[in-house]
């Protein structure tokens, strides 16, 4: 679809929850340093698909994948792949802000500490850089050691983004990152996504079609486990090729 390199790629991907065929022969390539949005009705498989990129589905009983997921051309479902290493490369932000019941500072440097980094100056620098990158620094710089739970929902979500950035991933997966936030916080998170794409490859699942329009470069529409259409967001929102996409984005679906 484009001359840019694909950071992530799915090749003939099928996924199952026991007998349920959740993803059906998905083939898609996601451009480096761009935002790709997954849209589709509930249960269409978009979150399942997102979670294959950092193997979050591995913990689910009966879950099985066939086919390939390539990160920088390397299949992440190969046996020799270390999942903890994979997740350093592929960060994730969830629907509900989920800060740990610790200080703001401890939240951001949590991943680094797990990696064994103890030097205070390194941790402090990482915390500042990540919080600045997540557009939260100015709001929290004077209360870094206060509880993260005292922050507003929107701030907590940006903190979770800072926490994900601290381990220097190259891919950020976001599963409806703004659906639990008010419009102002949503706008801040969307603005942040737009800025972050200069350095990160971002994949976002969203129920909010306008959000997909505002933040993404490419959009993929899923329906009943199938990838119905994948194109530039501009094209998807002005002249989608498939009638099902058209019906979904105009709110006429099912």
């Amino acid at each position: 679809m484009s001359k840019k390199t694909n950071k992530l790629e799915a090749i003939n991907l099928d996924a199952y929850y026991g007998d349920f065929h959740a993803l059906k022969n998905i083939n898609i390539g996601m451009e480096e340093k761009a935002v790709t949005a997954f849209i589709g009705p509930s249960g269409c498989g978009k979150s399942t698909f997102l979670r294959t990129f950092n193997r979050m589905n591995d913990y689910i009983d009966g879950f099985k994948v066939e086919g390939q997921i390539l990160l920088d051309g390397k299949d992440i479902y190969q046996k020799n792949i270390r999942v903890d290493e994979l997740r350093k490369e592929v960060g994730m932000v969830f629907q509900k802000p989920n800060p740990f019941p610790k200080s703001i500072f401890e939240n951001v440097v949590y991943g680094l500490k797990i990696q064994g980094i103890k030097k205070k100056s390194v941790l402090e620098e990482a915390a500042e850089t990540s919080l600045k990158r997540a557009a939260l620094w100015d709001e929290v710089k004077d209360k870094l050691h206060k509880s993260a739970l005292a922050l507003s929902g929107g701030q907590q979500q940006r903190l979770c983004i800072a926490r994900a950035l601290a381990i220097s991933p190259s891919v950020l997966l976001m599963d409806e990152p703004a659906s639990a936030l008010d419009p102002i916080s949503t706008a801040k998170v969307e603005e942040l996504i737009y800025e972050l794409k200069t350095d990160y490859t971002i994949v976002i699942v969203t129920h909010n079609m306008q959000q997909a329009g505002r933040v993404s470069d490419h959009t993929a529409f899923f329906y009943m486990g199938e990838l119905v259409e994948f194109n530039k967001t501009k094209t998807m929102f002005t002249s989608p090729k498939d009638e099902r996409t058209q019906n979904y984005i105009t709110g006429r679906f099912g």
Binding site: A187, E190, E191, Y194, Q210, G213, R214, V215, T233, K234, F237, T238
Partner: protein, 235 residues
Amino acid sequence: MPHIDTELERLKTKLLEMWDLVEYQLQSGREAMVNADVELAKLVIKRDRKVNQFDVKIDRMCENFFALFTPVAVDLRMVLAILKINANLERIGDTAEGIARFARKLEAPVDPALMEMTKVLPMYEEALAMFEDCRTAFKNNDPKLAKELIKRDKILNKIYRKSDTVVTKYMVQNPNKISEALALLSIIKKLERVGDQVTNIAEEVIFYREAKVVKHRSDKKKKKTPKDDKPGNTQ
């Protein structure tokens, strides 16, 4: 700058580029007419394709903007205004092309006496000045300037209204120059339309800045003349 503002700025810049091109077309059309410069006239005609390309591009950009950003309030009015301004600029571009088509057929410069009598050059100057001021009003978000320039459309209308009589008189005196005189008359009509189109654009600037609809105001005034308001005035 927020993403939506960056995109709006891009749209605005594109429209201003088109504005510059159309202004250049109008100016060149005048030069070609005054100097009977056939080569320049051909260039203007050819360049109208570029104006049309801008028209299509800006339409597409607006369509994308609506689809991707679902704008509201001032942003919505801005894109609606850009869409309409774009259409008017394209029409003004067509006018410049029309003038050039007239100039292309000229064998010698138009009779200075005819130009003097019809006041076509001052009319052209005023249309160009209004066009330039309108660009400034749009660029600087200045509804005050937009309102002022709308009033100047009267100057063009006045010259246009008199042109029939003036040209008829000229044709009676110069029966060998009837086709030239008729062509000039059609240019005057085109310039009058430019005045209307610039007015339309200025109204869009007011609409998007102040959320006020000022178009068709004169129609209302006409319907409600003092005479009609007199008590007991039945029709």
